[in-house]
C-alpha cells in the first residue's frame, strides 16, 4: 500500500515535468497545425545544455535555465524560420518529416559532443531526499514540480492576460479569421515555436535531473509526449496537463502493482483504448471539415 | 408525400439554435429556392439532410426513406447529391478523373475493374460537354478557375444520376455570363426530371429560376410561396431588414 501511495505521489510530480514538455508540443500543434516530432530531441538538448553549464562552469541547474531557456527560444525561432516556414504545400505531413530530421541531426551532434554514455544531472537536491511522514521524496521531484507550476502558470498568464496571448489563442481557434482581423499569424507562429522550444529547455533540465539519459532517450520521450498530447486532446493545454499527470500516475502504479516491464506497455495500450472510444482525446475537438 | 420532407428538425451548436423545429418540403420535379438572411441555418440544414451533421430532433424523409443520422455516402447512393458553398473538387486528380470518382461501384467489382468502363467514359465526356469543360479534361482540377470548378462540381454529381440535387450558393462568386449558363443548365436538367433545392443570395437568380421559394430565419421556415408572393411578403422583408 505504501508503495502504491509513493508511486502515485511520484507519478503526480513527474507528471508535472512531462506536462512542461508536452505543453510546448501541444501549443505548437494548436497554433501551427504541425506535430513537432523533434520535441523529444529538443528536451534532451536542453538537458545536455544544463549538463554542460553545470559540469564546465559550475552553474546551478535552476539558475542555468536563465541561459538555456532564452538560448533555446532563439533556436526555436531559427528552426521555424529555416525549416518550417519554407514548407508551402502539405505542411502538416512534411513538417513531421522535417522535425524528425532535425531530431536526428540533434541526436547525431549530441552523440559526438557528449558520447552515448548515460548521464544524469547532479546537484544536492537531486541526490538528497526529505521525509514526509512515512515517505521519502527526493527534493528534485518537488522542485521540478514547482518549476512546472511556475512556468505553466506563466504560460497561462501569457495566454490569457496579454495581447500577444490573445493573438495566439485566436490563431489557434481559426487561423484565417485571425489573419482577417489583422493578426500577424506568421509572427505568432514563430514565437509560439520559440516558446515551445524554450519550454523544452526547462523540461529538459527537470527531466535530466530526474532520470538518467543519453542521446537515444529521445525516442522513448517523444513517443510518450505524443501519446500524452493525443490523449489530452491536440492543442489543449489543460488536456496536456491532465493527461501527463494521469498517465504517469497510472504507469508508476502499474510498475508497482504488476511489474515495471508492463508499465510502458500500459502507457501505450491506454492510448489505444481511449482512441477506440474517444478519438479526439479528452479535450480535443472532433477533426472535421476545418478550413 | 413530398419528395424531400424535413419535419421539425432541431440542431444547436453550443447555445446557438442553428435549426429550430425547421420543417420544409420539396415537391418532386420542382426547382425550389431557399433563401434567408445570413445565419438563418440554410447550410446547416443541408449538412443535416446530407449526413455531414446530425440533427438532435426531428425527421427527414427522402423519397419515402428515412434519412436521420445517415452517413453522407449512404445519402448520396439514395440519389441525393449536393454542392458546397466553397467549391470542393479533387485538386490533384484530372478533370476527367474527378468525374469518375462519383461513379462508384460496390464491392469486389470496384477492385477488379479499371477506373472507367466505356459506358461511364461516354457519360463523363457527355457531362463535361454539357458544362463546357471538355477541352480541360486532362488538366489537374487545381488549374481550373473558380467558375470552372463550380461547373465541374456540378457535373461530377450528375454522373451518378441523382434524382435530386441540393445546390449551396451555385452563383456565388461567379460572373454574370456564367450565372446565366448555370441557370440554363439547371432548367435543362429539371426538364429531364431532376429536382433541385437551391440556396442562394443572388435574388435575381432565385426569383427567375425557382418556384416555389421558401424563406428561413433563425433556424425555421417563416414563409413559402411563388416568387411574386415572397417579394411582397412583409415577414420576409422584416427578416432581411432586421428587427
Amino acid at each position: 500500500m505504501k508503495l502504491i501511495v509513493e508511486a502515485i505521489i511520484t507519478g503526480i510530480l513527474t507528471g508535472g515535468i512531462y506536462a512542461l514538455m508536452a505543453s510546448g508540443l501541444t501549443l505548437i500543434f494548436g497554433v501551427m497545425d504541425i506535430i513537432n516530432v523533434g520535441q523529444g530531441a529538443l528536451v534532451i538538448l536542453g538537458a545536455y545544455l544544463s549538463y554542460a553549464l553545470q559540469v564546465n562552469f559550475h552553474i546551478d541547474l535552476f539558475w542555468g535555465l536563465l541561459i538555456t531557456m532564452p538560448a533555446m527560444f532563439l533556436l526555436g525561432l531559427l528552426l521555424e524560420w529555416a525549416f518550417i516556414r519554407p514548407l508551402k504545400r502539405d505542411r502538416p505531413t512534411l513538417s513531421i518529416l522535417v522535425t524528425f530530421a532535425i531530431a536526428m541531426i540533434i541526436e547525431g551532434i549530441l552523440g559526438i559532443v557528449f558520447t552515448n554514455n548515460i548521464v544524469q544531472l547532479h546537484s544536492w537536491y537531486v541526490d538528497a531526499s526529505f521525509q514526509i511522514g512515512d515517505y521519502y521524496l527526493a527534493y528534485i521531484y518537488v522542485l521540478s514540480f514547482i518549476l512546472s507550476i511556475v512556468l505553466l502558470g506563466g504560460l497561462y498568464l501569457l495566454l490569457y492576460r496579454t495581447k500577444f496571448g490573445y493573438s495566439l489563442l485566436a490563431s489557434m481557434q481559426n487561423r484565417t479569421a485571425a489573419q482577417l482581423i489583422g493578426i500577424d499569424v506568421e509572427k505568432v507562429s514563430a514565437i509560439t515555436f520559440g516558446i515551445g522550444v524554450s519550454l523544452a529547455a526547462a523540461g529538459g533540465m527537470a527531466y535530466g535531473a530526474t532520470f538518467a539519459f543519453n542521446p537515444g532517450s529521445l525516442y522513448d520521450l517523444i513517443s510518450r509526449l505524443l501519446v500524452i498530447i493525443i490523449l489530452g486532446g491536440m492543442g489543449s493545454l489543460r488536456g496536456a496537463l491532465i493527461a501527463s499527470v494521469g498517465m504517469l500516475v497510472i504507469e508508476d502504479a502499474t510498475a508497482v502493482v504488476l511489474s515495471p516491464v508492463w508499465a510502458t506497455t500500459v502507457f501505450f495500450l491506454l492510448l489505444i483504448i481511449i482512441m477506440v472510444f474517444r478519438p479526439q482525446g479528452l479535450f480535443g475537438q472532433l477533426e472535421g471539415r476545418k478550413q | 408525400m413530398s419528395f424531400l420532407e424535413v419535419n421539425n428538425v432541431s440542431k444547436s451548436f453550443g447555445g446557438i439554435h442553428a435549426l429550430d423545429t425547421c420543417s420544409i418540403s420539396v415537391q418532386r420535379g420542382t426547382v425550389t429556392g431557399l433563401i434567408g438572411p445570413n445565419g438563418s441555418g440554410k447550410t446547416t440544414l443541408f449538412n443535416v439532410i446530407t449526413g455531414y451533421d446530425q440533427a438532435e430532433k426531428g425527421e427527414i424523409f427522402f423519397d419515402g426513406k428515412a434519412l436521420i443520422n445517415s452517413k453522407p455516402d449512404h445519402v448520396f447512393r439514395l440519389g441525393l447529391g449536393r454542392t458546397f458553398q466553397l467549391t470542393r473538387i479533387f485538386p490533384r486528380l484530372t478533370v476527367l478523373e474527378n468525374m469518375h470518382v462519383a461513379a462508384q461501384r460496390v464491392g469486389t467489382r470496384a477492385l477488379l475493374s479499371r477506373w472507367s468502363s466505356s459506358h461511364e467514359q461516354r457519360r463523363a465526356l457527355e457531362l463535361l460537354d454539357f458544362v463546357g469543360l471538355t477541352p480541360l479534361k486532362d488538366l489537374p482540377a487545381a488549374n481550373l478557375s473558380y467558375g470552372q470548378k463550380k461547373l465541374l462540381e456540378f457535373a461530377y454529381i450528375l454522373i451518378a444520376d441523382p434524382s435530386m440535387i441540393l445546390l449551396d450558393e451555385p452563383a456565388g462568386g461567379v460572373n454574370p455570363t456564367m450565372i446565366n449558363q448555370l441557370a440554363e443548365r439547371i432548367r435543362t436538367l429539371n426538364r429531364q426530371g431532376v429536382t433541385f433545392l437551391v440556396v442562394e443570395h443572388n435574388m435575381e437568380f432565385v426569383m427567375s429560376l425557382c418556384n416555389p421559394i421558401m424563406v428561413m430565419h433563425h433556424g425555421a421556415r417563416i414563409a413559402e410561396g411563388t416568387p411574386q408572393e415572397i417579394r411582397k411578403n412583409p415577414t420576409v422583408l422584416e427578416a432581411y431588414l432586421g428587427e
Binding site: M234 | R92, V101, V106, L111, R114, A160
Partner: protein, 337 residues
C-alpha cells in the same frame, strides 16, 4: 510501345544482375535494395495513395520476422528452399494483425493517425522483449541455415525471391492505381469528406489498403529474417525502418509507381555506404538528417513527379518552338523575325 519494351529490358537487366556482378558484397546490397523497394512500394500503396502517413509499419516487419522464425522452429523446417514458401504465410500473418490495428488507427484523422501508428509500434517492440515464452526475449531466435549454399551462390536464391516480391508488389500497386478502387483512394487523399459524400466507402477502402501494405511489409520482414539467420527484438522491430521507407517514398515521389523503387535504389546503397564509412553513429545521423532536410525542402514532391513536371515543360517548349519555326516561314521563303 516503347515503354513496354523498356520495361522488359529493365526486367531482364534485373534478372541478369547477380550473374554479372556476383560479388557477394554487391549482391547483398542489391538484396537489401530490393527488399526496401518492396517495402516502400507497399507503404506507398497505403500512405502514398490515401495520404495517411503511417510510421508504424516496422511492427509488421517484425511480426513477419518472428512469424517465419517461429514457424521454422516449431515445425522443424530445415534450411534450403522450403522456408521461402513460408514467406507469404508470414505476410498473411502480418496482414491478419493489420486488420484490428488498422481498424483502430483509422478511426482517427490524419494527424492523430500518425501518432497511433507510432504508438502501435511501441507496444509491439516491448512485447517482443517481454513475451519470453514465445519470442525468447532479448536473446532472440535463429532461423534454419541452408547447408550446401556455399560462397557466391548463397545470395542468389534470396535475390530472386526478393525480385519476385518486388514484381508482385509493383503489380498490385499498378493494378490498384488503375482501378476504380484506387481512384477512390486518391480521392480520399485530396478531400476525404467530399469523397465520402460522393459514395466512396472511405472506411473500408483505407483499411484494405492498410492490410495489403502490411502483407508485403510482413513478407519483407520474413525474408530479411531468413537472410540474416537470426533475429532479436531491437533488430526486428527497428524504428529506423519506418523512417527509411518514409524517406524513400518521399524522395521517389508519393503516389507514383516508380518513385518508391527509385527512392530505394538511391538511398539504400547510400545508407550502406555511410554505415561503412562513418561507423561513428553521430556523423551518420547528422548526414542522414541533413540529407532528409535537403530532400524535403528542395524536392517536396519527390524525384519522379518533379522530373515529370520538367519533362512536360520541356515537351511543351519543344512544341512551341516547333510551331514558331513552322510559322516563321510565311510561305514566301522568308523567315519572319
Amino acid at each position: 510501345m516503347v515503354k513496354k519494351i523498356g520495361l522488359v529490358v529493365l526486367l531482364i537487366a534485373f534478372i541478369a544482375f547477380p550473374q554479372v556482378f556476383s560479388n557477394p558484397a554487391v549482391t547483398t546490397i542489391a538484396i537489401f535494395t530490393l527488399m526496401y523497394a518492396t517495402a516502400t512500394t507497399a507503404w506507398n500503396i497505403f500512405s502514398g495513395y490515401t495520404g495517411y502517413i503511417a510510421l508504424g509499419h516496422a511492427a509488421f516487419f517484425g511480426i513477419g520476422s518472428y512469424a517465419i522464425a517461429l514457424m521454422c522452429l516449431n515445425w522443424h523446417i530445415p534450411g534450403g528452399y522450403i522456408p521461402f514458401l513460408l514467406v507469404p504465410v508470414a505476410g498473411l500473418i502480418a496482414a491478419a494483425f493489420a486488420v484490428p490495428v488498422g481498424w483502430i488507427s483509422l478511426r482517427t484523422r490524419k494527424h492523430t493517425f500518425v501518432v497511433i501508428t507510432i504508438a502501435i509500434f511501441f507496444i509491439m517492440q516491448p512485447m517482443a522483449f517481454n513475451l519470453r515464452s514465445i519470442t525468447n526475449g532479448s536473446t532472440g531466435l535463429s532461423l534454419p541455415i541452408p547447408t550446401g549454399w556455399g560462397g557466391t551462390y548463397f545470395n542468389f536464391p534470396f535475390y530472386y525471391v526478393a525480385l519476385a516480391m518486388l514484381v508482385f508488389a509493383l503489380g498490385v500497386s499498378w493494378w490498384i492505381r488503375n482501378s476504380k478502387y484506387g481512384l477512390g483512394l486518391l480521392a480520399i487523399r485530396d478531400d476525404e469528406d467530399r469523397a465520402l459524400g460522393l459514395g466512396v466507402k472511405t472506411g473500408s477502402s483505407k483499411l484494405i489498403a492498410f492490410v495489403i501494405s502490411a502483407f508485403f511489409v510482413g513478407m519483407v520482414g520474413a525474408l530479411h529474417a531468413y537472410f540474416q539467420e537470426s533475429i532479436y527484438p531491437a533488430f526486428a522491430f527497428d524504428p529506423l525502418f519506418d523512417i527509411a521507407i518514409a524517406l524513400m517514398g518521399f524522395l521517389g515521389g508519393m503516389g507514383t509507381l516508380s518513385g518508391p523503387i527509385l527512392g530505394a535504389i538511391i538511398l539504400e546503397p547510400t545508407q550502406r555506404y555511410f554505415t561503412m564509412q562513418f561507423s561513428a553513429n553521430g556523423y551518420y545521423l547528422i548526414i542522414y538528417g541533413a540529407l532528409f532536410l535537403a530532400i524535403i525542402l528542395l524536392l517536396p514532391e519527390g524525384v519522379v513527379p518533379t522530373a515529370n513536371k520538367y519533362w512536360l515543360k520541356w515537351k511543351a517548349f519543344r512544341e512551341r518552338t516547333k510551331n514558331v519555326s513552322n510559322e516563321s516561314d510565311d510561305g514566301k521563303g522568308k523567315v519572319r523575325p
